[in-house]
């Protein structure tokens, strides 16, 4: 079994075993969406107009929890050193962890969609497109997020540092994902959805390669 | 802005911009210089 598949299996198993945490993260995201509506007021029109923004802000905030926890097992039992001793390239460890995180975030995102539909009256018939955007956005958050989670899991002030480092970097993901989701909700007369999706793809290509390349240096001793 | 689209006056903004620039540049330079001198003094104490 290739190192990447083995590592991926390990991380997916970890995610499954800690699925109670995933439920908690989803609850946090749903609570965030609720709080946004309290902050804005019970104006259905305004809520619907900004529903995409609220969804992605909620997912972004939830991602800090998921990402910070993703290296918990490795940090707790010093398992990271053990993993690095294996004849598998650290890069494989990164890609496996980042993929598992992306899937976990996509699951939370998909779970938040019905919450958004109910709270903000923001449904769309284009379900596959919506899921695609959620997947692309989650992947975009996960690529740099996993790298910085690895870094900050070893540093003292990890809870503050991870969002501090991550949020400015993922501004393009936020912009593109919000725009794309808004187009799905409100209609896309000029066919701009593809361009925003392309931006997400470009961001993912750049960061998945760059962060994978640099991961060795982050975890080396 | 007047109806013709020309901005008149606004010198207070010009002074504000130049003032902020001077304040930050000079303030930062002084801060770096002070920290540098303090570090040199500490090193002077330790060196045999």
């Amino acid at each position: 079994m290739s190192p990447l598949r083995a590592a991926l299996r390990k991380d997916l198993l970890l995610q499954w075993r800690t699925r109670a945490q995933a439920v908690a993260v989803f609850a946090f995201g749903a609570a965030a969406l609720l709080l946004f509506s309290f902050a804005v007021g019970p104006n259905a029109g305004v809520l619907r107009e900004h529903a995409a923004g609220f969804l992605w802000l909620g997912l972004l905030l939830s991602s800090t929890l998921t990402l910070a926890e993703s290296f918990h097992a490795e940090a707790e039992h010093r398992a990271l050193e053990g993993l690095l001793l294996l004849p598998a390239p650290p890069r494989a460890l990164y890609y496996a962890k980042a993929l598992a995180n992306a899937l976990a975030l996509a699951a939370v995102g998909a779970g938040l969609v019905p919450v958004m539909v109910v709270l903000y009256d923001a449904a769309t018939p284009r379900i596959p497109a919506r899921l695609g955007i959620i997947l692309l956005g989650s992947a975009g958050l996960s690529a740099p997020g996993t790298l910085y989670a690895a870094m900050t899991s070893q540093a003292p002030a990890r809870q503050t540092l991870l969002p501090l480092l991550l949020f400015p970097l993922v501004v393009p993901v936020l912009l593109a994902a919000v725009k794309a989701t808004a187009l799905l909700i409100h209609g896309d007369p000029m066919g701009q959805l593809r361009s925003w999706a392309l931006l997400l793809v470009c961001f993912n290509v750049i960061h998945w390669s760059l962060c994978g390349l640099l991961f060795d240096r982050v975890v080396e001793d | 802005m007047t109806a013709s689209g020309v901005i008149t006056g606004g010198w207070e903004f010009v002074w504000a911009a130049y003032g902020v620039t001077a304040a930050i540049l000079i303030g930062y330079a002084v801060s770096v210089l002070a920290r540098y001198r303090a570090q040199r003094r500490r090193r002077g104490e330790v060196r045999p």
Binding site: M151, L161, L199, H207 | A29, R37
Partner: protein
């Protein structure tokens, strides 16, 4: 890497140029047709923009070299370039707000370049924060270099995404073309700012190098004797 003399000379030269260029721009250059006297802000704003990006680009170069060579001097320069770059970028945002208020009536008009700069202040500022929390100097050097490379690679993506996001709602703001009458004060200030920036980075890098030295030397002994004859040049 000794002494504050070279950086001090650069700072003094830069300051002189800035005073000359600013005097020219404020009092001698003609008034712009549409923006009137407010346009004179450009004589500090544009040089700040150029030098902020230059500082952050230099930071990127230092990051790459720090990772490739492992030489702590590149890490010292990285720290300096980051701090100066963040300071200049923050200054740029302030200048931009002061310029926007009389021009557009709001303090912030989401101009793509300024908005990107604001994101950069946070992105590179976060790396400075990261450095505060990592004690191991080798890890600190490696991690800040990695973070600086990722942040710098992100700059064009951030710029294009903001530009696009903004273009759907507003017309572009800052004027692109600068007519010939305004060239000279702009150039003088650009060079002045360049000397100031280089002087600041040089001095700040030397400070970082001294701190690295202190870190490696270990803690001071309980009663460090005061040396009567300090080495020449130590009291800069």
């Amino acid at each position: 890497m000794q002494g504050a003399r070279l950086p001090s000379v650069m700072l003094a030269l830069g300051l002189a140029l800035l005073l000359w260029g600013s005097y020219w721009g404020l009092f001698l250059a003609p008034r712009e047709t549409y923006m009137g006297d407010v346009q004179r802000i450009m004589y500090v704003h544009v040089p700040t923009a150029w030098n902020a990006m230059l500082a952050l680009t230099f930071a990127f170069a230092c990051a790459v070299l720090s990772l490739l060579r492992g030489d702590p001097r590149w890490d010292a320069r990285l720290e300096a370039a980051l701090e100066v770059g963040v300071t200049l970028s923050a200054l740029l945002c302030l200048q931009g707000a002061i310029w926007a208020k009389p021009t557009w009536g709001v303090w912030w008009d989401w101009d793509p370049r300024l908005t990107t700069t604001a994101v950069l202040v946070f992105a590179f500022g976060a790396i400075l924060a990261l450095r505060q929390f990592v004690d191991d100097p080798v890890k600190r050097a490696t991690w800040s270099a990695v973070a600086a490379i990722i942040a710098y690679a992100d700059v064009p993506i951030v710029y294009f995404s903001v530009k696009w996001w903004n273009s759907l709602h507003q017309t572009q703001s800052s004027p692109e073309t600068v007519s010939r009458a305004f060239h000279w004060p702009l150039r003088i200030n650009a060079f002045g700012m360049l000397f100031v920036m280089s002087g600041l980075i040089t001095l700040r890098a030397r400070l970082a190098a001294l701190r690295q030295e202190e870190e490696l030397a270990g803690p001071l002994p309980a009663a460090a004797p005061r040396v009567a004859s300090a080495a020449p040049g130590a009291g800069a």
